[in-house]
Symmetry: C2
Subunit: 204 residues, 2 copies
């Protein structure tokens, strides 16, 4: 078996509950959650290395120079990115790594690491997506419209993904994500060296 770990990238429009799904998947399995780096200031209670690696602009730009990001973006005057060396080190050790990042970030990870498995989390219906956005806070008609349009633009990006998981219930969605990971481990490509080592070589 190809003993490298899998890089599983989970994303989806806001209000789809991808955070809850990731938390549950991590609780039930021995995966490693990659922590992003950012130049924004820590909020109350946030710890360096837990929610984010909080870097200065200079530190972040030095890591860009060193090509030590799987992907990064500059959003509202701050950098956000996925540190590369940590992730690669875990994968090489056979550990499966989960990234929970935004949609454009996910697509960029796939460009940098083509074996990455991209999972798009989808709300069960358009109405449900609307409800979840409304329930998140006091929305004006106008901002609801903007958010829905943005969600739809994001949903169009799902065509770049490998899998789409509907979040109808957390349990069902978690089971789908776990199944995808287990199935990926059974793919021929992953199993070929095991077959060779354990069987074919013995019969020569």
């Amino acid at each position: 078996m190809d003993s490298k770990g899998l890089l599983i990238v989970i994303s989806g429009p806001s209000g789809t509950g991808k955070g809850t799904i990731c938390k549950e998947v991590l609780k039930r399995n021995d995966f490693w959650l990659s922590v992003s780096a950012t130049t924004r200031s820590p909020r109350k209670g946030e710890q360096h290395g837990k929610e984010y690696y909080f870097l200065t602009k200079e530190e972040f730009e030095a890591k860009i120079e060193e090509r030590d990001f799987l992907e990064y973006a500059h959003v509202y005057n701050n950098y956000y990115g996925t540190p590369k060396s940590n992730v690669i080190e875990k994968l090489e050790k056979g550990k499966d790594v989960i990234l929970e990042i935004d949609i454009q970030g996910a697509i960029n990870v796939k460009k940098a690491y083509s074996e990455a498995i991209l999972i798009f989390i989808l709300p069960p219906s358009y109405e449900e997506l609307k409800n979840r956005i409304v329930n998140r806070g006091t929305e004006t008609e106008e901002s609801l419209k903007t958010r829905l349009e943005s969600a739809n633009r994001e949903i169009e990006c799902s065509k770049e993904y490998d899998y789409v998981v509907v979040n109808d219930t957390v349990d069902a969605a978690v089971r789908r994500v776990e199944s995808i990971i287990l199935a990926e481990k059974c793919k021929l490509k992953k199993m070929q060296s095991l077959i060779y080592d354990k069987f074919l070589i013995k019969n020569q």
Copy 2:
């Protein structure tokens, strides 16, 4: 969601326990097991339509003429084959279909129906494969050697498959097969029409 069912083809060398795995998968899930057709005589207790559809040579050859087999083979003077129309009808109705057939048959099904998902069941080790063959009956040194060589030729065919499932324990193997099926349902290709119908069309 592409509402067609999945065609799941399970095979592997003899002594890998694929029959037990199939039985368990069918017990736990609402899949449809395709029944093969044959021209060999029914053994004691075998029922037409249960273990096999027992056909005459003429009936079988007429179905070959009508191209009503997904695959068929002529072995030791008897025909064996997978009737096509039954399977296609179930798939069209959204039912997932399981085929438990031999290795060459599986490869031929993929040629006839490229969406078929081929799962190869592998014993956990070469030693275990040997033990299972020995425990099956009174084997001479010579016939054991022949069977092992044949198993190894079959294992080489796994490279034509989509997935390889190690049968270390029945429970683990069943969980892998179920995961493969669930993951296949989450593949982008399967989900694209759902995404379009439920989301993108609403925002136009």
